[in-house]
Symmetry: C2
DNA sequence: CCGAGTTGCTAAAACGTATTAGCATGACCA
DNA sequence: TGGTCATGCTAATACGTTTTAGCAACTCGG
């Protein structure tokens, strides 16, 4: 019934050698330590015959290293964002033989600290502190001193010796405006932000930087947005209201940049209710590339948040740091900006249609 | 720089007792083993003063138990399903001091086995085998014999001594039809399944059972569906096609049951293009309760998959089994069906509008 | 035939905890 | 005064590895 796991001692006994010998052979240090080829073969055969698998807990205790990393997020369940971020992290970890502990803090600092402790108790080799929306987040002090840590999708307010991985929102904003301009549009309405940084959802790096990128590209052309429509949350109902406001002031708008796909969904609904055709009458560009962007009619052209790539990069940076451990020529505190790819669908008129 | 962790030996030394004494006191076995109150106080003070936290890896090696469970899923990133399932699992685990290893297999059996091994190497106390869609899934033989295991959102083909947690799809189908009937509808079109079990996406328990529940409720009324529209995938584009087919045959349909929200999204689009109003002209009910159900206009009445409750229940069952370990009066092999709640929005006409 | 060097392996300790058996010490009873 | 018993603690071991120091046996040059 309870057939015990086979241990290194079992292998050694079966091979007729001491446990130390078996350990050396299986760690490929046989030649280095002058174990005869014959003995090595015996050990390997015994190991595979018995189906030996080293006990990772014991290795962890002995070596202090567990091939395990902790992934701590404020909110795991928010849309599919979480899924792809974790997927990327899992892929990168798996490819290097690491497992992931995953935990959620609900944004509570005490829970976050307790979770970090619980993971350190389990001797994780490193920690990723993720947020599901790009924002500022001050990690607890404990991560500065001991354990390798990477921030994912967030930045600390103060200067901290921690690497961070965030999407390149400024370039994304630039790209959105550029795509409209290249399509021949000059009169662009903005749904989701005001002209001032304060007109933007608080703590939202995405909002500030998308706006900044858009403004940069427009002003390079001598342009400014035709109208701004700030809103407290980027949700469909606010997108609807903003779109109504646009139409009240400009019954035949030409181009709309929505600050995310849910806002765009609301805008679509209103445009269609008013009999305006996308993209023939009005072009729409958005950000995020949620699943719905592909389901909407016409398909929404939008700039994707590279969740999967970010998850992967965070793990890769962390593993590099773990391997490194001594040589701190890594310049910790670096911010890694991951490109946000434009996903072209059908919501912007062809670039050669007119003008 | 590298200030070592404080160990039990440190605490013992600070308190002026042997490590064994400290261990007993901190395990609350002090009185049982006749440690004087004075000594107990000294130990506790030393522990809290030094900030002692037991090394879980060492405990794991010593006790064979790690307060850790493995959550293995075929696909972690599929919509927000994953998020809520994991959220529920995390909540239940956290409330009992357990951590979760999370891994993804991409549906590959070899990866699944390797992952189970990797987790057993780390001495997890139990394993949850999850799928992101309700379906049949044969877990590897290894889980039968040793480690406590719960199947989440899937059922084995053959009889296995494993508990499973699945949504109660039959009752959900019954509820969908019942809601339509109570609203006074008798002529109901089905988008997403054919009349035969074989007209349904293969392996999809949801399809078979939703259909079964619908048919049961209808036949209790002496009714049958007005039309069936099977499709290989429940995605918006197929929902559009099916809705067009309905209209070709019945230009003024009364009631539509869609087999999921994405199909309903496609149906909405076509209905709106044809100038038909929901719910005034046609009522729509669906399954899943994705986020989009709340974003669509009018809000979609839909029967939710209780992902969070399922995740929570899976962990709770697993922890019960882990605690139990000896007394196998648990009747393993039980299937736990979690109720699927109806989420009423605005896509079905009021029940007293007419009859 | 002796010392030095090489070859091939192993004993032992260590990681940090939990647990069992048992050792002093004093109290109490006969 | 000697034996028994309760009290209060600790030594020692085990969990399964990794790693270092070193032992035994053999070879070889002089």
């Amino acid at each position: 019934m309870a057939n015990k796991r086979v241990t290194l001692a079992d292998v050694a006994a079966a091979a007729g050698v001491a446990p130390a010998t078996a350990s050396l052979v299986l760690a490929d240090r046989g030649f280095e330590l002058r174990i005869s080829e014959a003995a090595q073969i015996k050990v390997r055969q015994a190991a595979s015959l018995l189906g030996y698998r080293p006990n990772a807990v014991s290795q962890g205790l002995r070596t202090g290293t567990t091939s395990t990393i902790g992934f701590i997020s404020d909110n795991i369940a928010t849309s599919q964002l979480a899924g792809n971020t974790i997927k990327g992290a899992l892929e990168a970890a798996r490819s290097q033989g690491f497992m992931l502990f995953i935990a959620e803090t609900d944004g509570d600092a005490a829970t976050e600290l307790a979770t970090i402790h619980a993971m350190m108790d389990r001797q994780v080799d490193g920690i990723i502190l993720a947020t599901m929306f790009t924002r500022y987040h001050e990690p607890p002090a404990i991560v500065d001193e001991g354990i390798p840590t990477i921030l994912l999708n967030n930045l600390p307010n103060s200067r901290r010796p921690l690497d961070a991985v965030v999407p390149d929102e400024i370039t994304a904003g630039w790209t959105a405006a550029d795509y409209m301009i290249e399509a021949g549009h000059q009169k662009i309405h903005l749904l989701g932000a005001g002209p001032l940084p304060s007109d933007v959802p608080p703590d939202s790096i995405a909002a500030v930087q998308r706006l900044q990128g858009i403004q940069e590209r427009l002003s390079a052309e001598g342009l400014v947005p035709l109208s701004y429509h700030p809103m407290p949350d980027w949700i469909p109902v606010n997108g609807r209201a903003a779109m109504e406001a646009v139409l009240a002031q400009d019954p035949f708008p030409e181009a709309i940049i929505c600050f995310n796909d849910r806002v765009a969904l609301g805008a679509y609904q209103v445009l269609q209710e008013h009999g305006l055709r996308i993209p023939d009458d009005v072009s729409v560009v958005s950000f995020d590339d949620f699943d719905i962007a592909g389901w909407m009619r016409p398909g929404l052209t939008t700039i994707a948040i590279p969740h999967r790539a970010m998850g992967r990069m965070a793990v890769e940076l962390l593993l590099a740091r773990i391997r490194d451990i001594g040589g701190s020529d890594q310049s910790p505190g670096a911010v890694h900006r991951v490109p946000m790819p434009l996903h072209v669908r059908e919501s912007v008129r062809g670039q050669n249609d007119d003008i």
